[in-house]
């Protein structure tokens, strides 16, 4: 289990050995963003701008215009907070800067919403020439870094603080804009990004294995009193279904998709969604402006429009242990599984 910011720090040094146009612009967060090993190995290619993100973004744009490939790193919340600067000096200048925003989502936990990258996707998605990249594991981080090292376009690399398991096999090949199906199932497609990908996979695997929710796993208690409890009780993984040994006994087998870069390829999404009657987007981000909006624009335009639902952060977020936050916002495996189950109780559109 390794965080994508750790994979990023390791990969950055490795690709910088190969490509000497890679430089780093730092905002006093080299330790937290994992650019410190780069600084130690390439001090001449490391520019410390201090706690001054607006200037750092401009300096990075200037370096990019002169042929370098700058990675300017800070917490995603701070970096994308300088939106006017990114819009103009990176976007409108078409400057090939890689904006690296770490601490995506709720995972920073006890520091609370002033440090949480929860609206960074919404901001970066508005810029027509800025690609968004969020790896789900080490395999994908390495491949994205290889892509970003040689690509010249502006990019936003969104990274997680929490350690993540590997969800991709060695044969995985990252392609920008192309979502990757990690679990092929039926009825419902769960789209996820970055840190929520392994959580969605876990939820799907639990559901597919034996309808964990209906079998009274200890964790069920945390959701039993919630608004979706009724849905669970009447779920497709009911005791009757298990006893009958029918399809429901096998539990629900949702399709799980990793959408690791935006803008997303429309045809691939349409192909993935085809045959499913329900779509659930799970994101560690505000419900507005992120992955759900990206996919909704495609899915809701389909002729056989599936039911579309979103599981995301509906408020500013708050401080607390990460596991408590993810449970509260139903962005843990149980919450996702419960939401999928409830979604299946509603008639498809």
């Amino acid at each position: 289990m390794t965080s994508t910011r750790d994979w990023f720090g390791t990969a950055l040094v490795e690709i910088a050995r190969e490509y000497d146009h890679i430089v780093v612009v730092n905002c006093d967060l080299a330790k937290a963003t994992r650019t410190l090993p780069f600084k130690e190995e390439f001090p001449d290619r490391f520019f410390e701008c201090g706690i001054a993100e607006a200037n750092a973004i401009g300096v990075a744009a200037g370096l990019a215009q002169e042929g370098f490939r700058p990675f300017v790193a800070s917490f995603g919340h701070f970096l994308t907070g300088k939106f006017l600067e990114i819009f103009q000096t990176v976007g409108l200048n078409d400057a090939g800067v890689v904006l690296v925003g770490t601490h995506a989502g709720l995972a920073i936990g006890r520091d609370g919403p002033t440090q949480m990258g929860l609206r960074d996707l919404a901001l970066m998605r508005t810029l027509p020439n800025v690609g968004v990249f969020q790896p789900a594991d080490g395999t994908e981080t390495w491949q994205m870094m290889a892509h970003l090292a040689t690509d010249r376009r502006p990019a936003y690399l969104r990274l997680c603080r929490q350690p993540l398991p590997e969800v991709h096999t060695d044969g995985y090949h990252f392609r920008p804009g192309i979502p990757h199906v990690l679990r092929a199932g039926a009825d419902v497609v769960v789209f996820a990004m970055g840190g929520t990908v392994p959580v969605a996979v876990e939820a799907a695997d639990r559901l597919a294995a034996h309808g964990a929710l209906a079998h009274g796993a200890p964790a069920n208690g945390s959701v039993a009193g919630g608004p979706v409890a009724g849905g669970l009780a009447a779920g497709g993984v009911s005791a009757a279904g298990v006893a009958a040994g029918g399809p429901a006994a096998r539990g629900i087998a949702p399709t799980v998709v990793n959408v690791s870069s935006l803008p997303v390829d429309r045809e691939t999404v349409e192909r993935i969604v085809a045959g499913h009657q329900r779509v659930l987007v799970v994101e560690d981000h505000y419900a507005v402006g992120g992955l759900a909006d990206e996919l909704g624009r495609i899915v809701l335009g389909l002729p056989d429009r599936p039911r579309f639902d979103v599981l995301a952060v509906p408020d500013y977020g708050q401080a607390g242990p990460p596991e408590d936050l993810y449970r509260r916002y139903r962005l843990d495996a149980e919450g996702i599984a419960a939401h999928v189950t409830a979604l299946l109780q509603d008639a498809p559109r």
């Binding site: 001054a52 401009g58 300096v59 002169e66 042929g67 103009q88 000096t89």
Partner: protein, 282 residues
């Protein structure tokens, strides 16, 4: 390389820049008049600075990647730069009527993705100096000796990012970087001194580690000499005292307004004045 020119040659050179600056004023006023839109006062206040840069200081180099860089951080003065490009023959004169028009290369604020003769896209104030710093750092890393010039407004210096960039470049003694502040004392809502005074500006900039010079921003010789005497090992800033709407020694357009447009009569009078000035130059 420029040697030590004689006094007579220097005088002739300054007179040449003055003529070109007057022609720039005619072109930029025509642009704004035909567009019915644009910042005449701000463009006029920096027309002499831009002319010294364009017609004397900026070395385009054998290609864009090695030559000097010009960042117009006060992007609303774009007509001054476009006019210098037209007067210098880099842009066709026919484009004078396309300012702020749909699909034009001459956007209301400079856009390098539409016009390659713009080094950095600007418009929202306060951002250009940071990009200039980045470009100067890159040039040092590449081992190039070219200079990055950045023209800022004085009101623009109220933006915090400008001081982040001043702080960085001063602390790191970034070479090959010259900032010029078009100190016309006026901003959108009135006088800089009333809205948020910058004074004491030279002392602040010195405290930030910059080599500071103060000049009459309408005196081409003074501007040129200050640019030539810049610090070669660290960043330099020239505070150029100017007047918004400056047409010539005894004439200001629209009482120095930030964004008012000249009426047809005011435009005609300004053109008459500038043409008379041009004849006097000849």
């Amino acid at each position: 390389m420029r040697g030590e020119p004689t006094v007579a040659a220097q005088r002739a050179d300054v007179a040449r820049i003055a003529r070109l600056a007057t022609r720039c004023r005619l072109v930029l006023l025509e642009m704004i008049h035909r567009a019915g839109s644009g910042h005449a006062g701000s463009s006029l206040s920096c027309a002499d600075i831009v002319s010294v840069l364009k017609f004397d200081q900026l070395d385009p180099g054998p290609d864009r990647s090695t030559g000097d860089v010009f960042v117009l951080s006060k992007g609303h003065a774009a007509p001054a730069w476009y006019a210098a490009l037209i007067v210098g023959g880099d842009l066709p004169a026919e484009e004078v009527g396309t300012l702020r028009a749909l699909d034009s290369r001459l956007q209301g604020h400079p856009d390098r993705t539409r016009l390659g003769l713009v080094d950095v896209s600007t418009g929202a104030l306060g951002q250009g100096l940071s990009v200039a710093v980045g470009r100067a750092l890159a040039r040092r890393l590449h081992g190039r000796n070219s200079t990055v010039y950045c023209l800022l407004g004085d009101g623009e210096c109220q933006e915090g990012q400008v001081w982040e960039a001043f702080l960085y470049a001063g602390a790191h003694r970034v070479p090959g970087l010259v900032a010029i502040i078009d100190h016309n004392g006026s901003q959108s809502d009135g006088a800089v001194a009333d809205i948020l005074p910058l004074c004491p500006l030279p002392e602040k900039l010195r405290a930030f580690g910059w080599h500071v010079a103060e000049v009459d921003g309408h005196d081409h010789g003074e501007v040129r000499d200050a640019l030539r005497r810049r610090d070669r090992d660290g960043p330099s800033v020239i505070i150029a005292h100017t007047r918004k709407g400056h047409l010539g020694p005894d004439r200001v357009l629209l009482n120095g307004s930030h964004s008012d447009l000249p009426s047809a009569a005011e435009y005609a009078a300004a053109v008459d004045y500038l043409e008379t000035l041009l004849e006097a130059h000849e």
